[in-house]
Amino acid sequence: MNDMSEISGARDASGSAFTFTGQWREFLPIALTNLALTIVTLGIYRFWAKARERRYLWSRTRFIDDTLEWTGTGKEMFFGFLIVMAVVVPALLVLNFGLEALILRGEFLAAGVIGFALYAGLFYLYHVARFRALRYQLSRTFWHGIRGGSDNPGWAYGLSGVWRFAVGFVTLGLLIPWAMTRLWNERWGSMSFGPHPFHAEASSEGLMGRWLLIYLAPVLGVILMGALGFAGAAAGSVSGSEDGMAMGAVAAIFFGAILFYVLLLILSLSFYALFYRHVVDATSVAGVDLRFTARTKDWLKLILGNIALVVVTLGVGLLFISYRNWSFLVCHMEAAGVVDLDVLTQTTTRAPTDAEGLADAFDFGAI
């Protein structure tokens, strides 16, 4: 019997069971050579680039006593992409050109029906893609030589995504937090690590307050713009001309509109921050309870930092966005509980071969 067979994920001196030890100086050569190879291969290398990037990020992510390992390969991601392209692209092309031709012929009803079906289908695939991307990522994530996965193909999850969001929209968005939490539960509840299923039991209770705040944004925005427009017109009228008044009002309303978008962004972000803490806190696996600690201001700092990095470096910083996002996730992830290594055995789930082809078609990020 190995005396290391039970290890505690509870907070230790370093603060969290998850630590990220990456350094930008180590990542830079990877990012730069990835960029160069991607350019000279007209973009084909991007699959291998993503695999290299993840291999680095995972290898610098420590959980309790050992690092994660990413075993996904560029080749399988490329083939996953090819499989999806072979199925999705012809369908999209036919529908797209068919639609254009119908519209140019004035067959608006038929075009509308087909268009609606097309978008509903895409919405369905979007959810399937999200599910399968997670399944793939877990199946390629190893810790202590053990990986995660799922035997659920995600087709039913796609339907669930469509009807739950349909309910969310029909109720004027009021049930969207409900749809989001249920889908999180369904998605993660279908996953496992080793022999242990994930448990996700988030409810939408406690989320509604912040969600309703977002509804206030347009109201506040209109009041703000009205007030600013009026003030602007007053300021403009100092010049004595009607033109000055109009210009002042327009400038003020423009300014107000920008403020409104910033407000909306912050309110949405604050909802998302709460949502993410809420659902991660309700998620556990193998006796380990997960926790996420990022608050709105942390998310805001991440996003503003990303924007500033890209602007200041004239775009070169784009290479570091995935690095920063991953480091953000890991640094705010915590775990409590005890992992019994003796019963953490290899999964029997199938390792999917379609990689992230479908998700790639929707251009998802790493998480």
């Binding site: 190879l37 991607t38 991007r46 290898s59 050109f97 053990i146 953490l344 290899q346």
Partner: protein
């Protein structure tokens, strides 16, 4: 003999092991006294963790062997080499791979983007007509049919090109200042372009330009380039491919626009129509351009065509001083064309 650790891929428990060379393979013995052999051909290098090198087995997922990088010569010789970029690049080295990649890509792009120019003339017109009709249809019946207007337009076209009879030139009742050459010899002129024009000679230059696009098979070429090659590059290449496609396609379209302008000027010359009128048309569009900074009504034309200023100069320079030009249409014909979207059909 080297000391290391092992995950067997079945359990998460890490075992201490010792590894020693045994013939052509490696013998791994764990702390429980069990031992087994591993063939070097089954081993792959996974990663370096500080001074530990981690190896995996291609036949057992999750099987990981960690050995210090100071492993003696005997063991080290049986371990696989590091992989950095992926199989083939590691074999030839990064600089060579970059050079080879750039060369092959440039070749593919060159062939892919220049071949439509010589493929286009090989597409029979009747095939293109079918594709064109399938794609474009009849604009939902939005064609303008005011009395005498179509006859005037056809006459104008006939003056510009001896093969104008094969073309289908229509005015469309859509509020845009634009004209477009579409697949299958279809040319559409949008309503506002006619309203903005100050006389038939101004329309003649624009029409000549679109006719040239058809006759030079630019439309066919563009279609092959866009639907054939561009789409493949953008699909397979992701954002990198899409950017490359955008740049190259823009380059070809600039060339085609310039060629169409030159051909239009030749056509005007043959028909003895003054190019100065077209220059004036562009001058007026250019004024809009300056005043409104490319925003505003009537500027769609600029977004799909080159900037007005340079084109104005091209047409102006083509004017022969002191020459006596003929108006391209009679007064009555122009009236009919001008009001084609307002007059009742004959």
């Amino acid at each position: 003999m080297v000391e290391g650790w092992l995950y067997d891929g079945r359990s998460a428990v890490r075992r201490s092991v010792t590894v020693a060379a045994a013939g052509s393979s490696l013998r791994v013995e764990n702390d429980g006294g069990d031992s087994f052999e591993v063939f070097p051909a089954d081993l792959v290098h996974i990663e370096s963790r500080g001074d530990i090198e981690v190896y995996g087995r291609s036949d057992i997922p999750g099987w990981r062997l960690g050995l210090p990088n100071t492993a003696g010569q005997e063991v080290a010789a049986r371990l696989p080499a590091r992989q950095v970029y992926g199989g083939f690049i590691d074999r030839i080295g990064l600089p060579k791979a970059l050079a080879a990649g750039a060369l092959v890509s440039a070749l593919i792009l060159f062939v892919g983007y220049s071949s439509p120019a010589w493929l286009a003339p090989l597409v029979p017109m009747h095939v293109e007509k079918k594709i064109g009709n399938a794609l474009v249809g009849d604009f939902g019946g939005e064609y303008c049919v005011g009395a005498g207007g179509q006859e005037a337009l056809n006459k104008l076209a006939a003056r510009l090109s001896p093969r104008a009879g094969e073309l289908n030139i229509r005015v469309v009742n859509i509020k845009m200042v634009n004209a477009a050459a579409l697949p299958g010899g279809n040319i559409v002129i949008f309503r506002e372009l006619i309203s903005e024009a100050d006389g038939p000679d101004e329309v003649a230059g624009v029409l000549g330009h679109e006719i040239a696009h058809v006759e030079e098979r630019h439309v066919t070429e563009g279609m092959i380039r866009h639907l054939g090659f561009g789409m493949i590059v953008a699909l397979f290449g992701g954002s990198t491919g899409a950017n490359a496609d955008m740049l190259l396609a823009a380059g070809y379209s600039r060339g085609a626009e310039r060629e169409a302008d030159e051909r239009a000027i030749e056509a005007l010359k043959r028909a003895n129509i003054s190019p100065a009128a077209t220059a004036k048309f562009f001058e007026r569009l250019g004024e809009h351009e300056e005043k409104l900074g490319r925003i505003g009504d009537g500027l769609e034309y600029l977004s799909t065509h080159p900037m007005s200023q340079s084109r104005e100069k091209l047409f102006k320079d083509a004017e022969v001083k002191g020459a006596t030009y003929q108006p391209s249409l009679s007064r009555d014909e122009w009236e009919a064309l001008f009001s084609i979207c307002h007059n009742k059909p004959a």
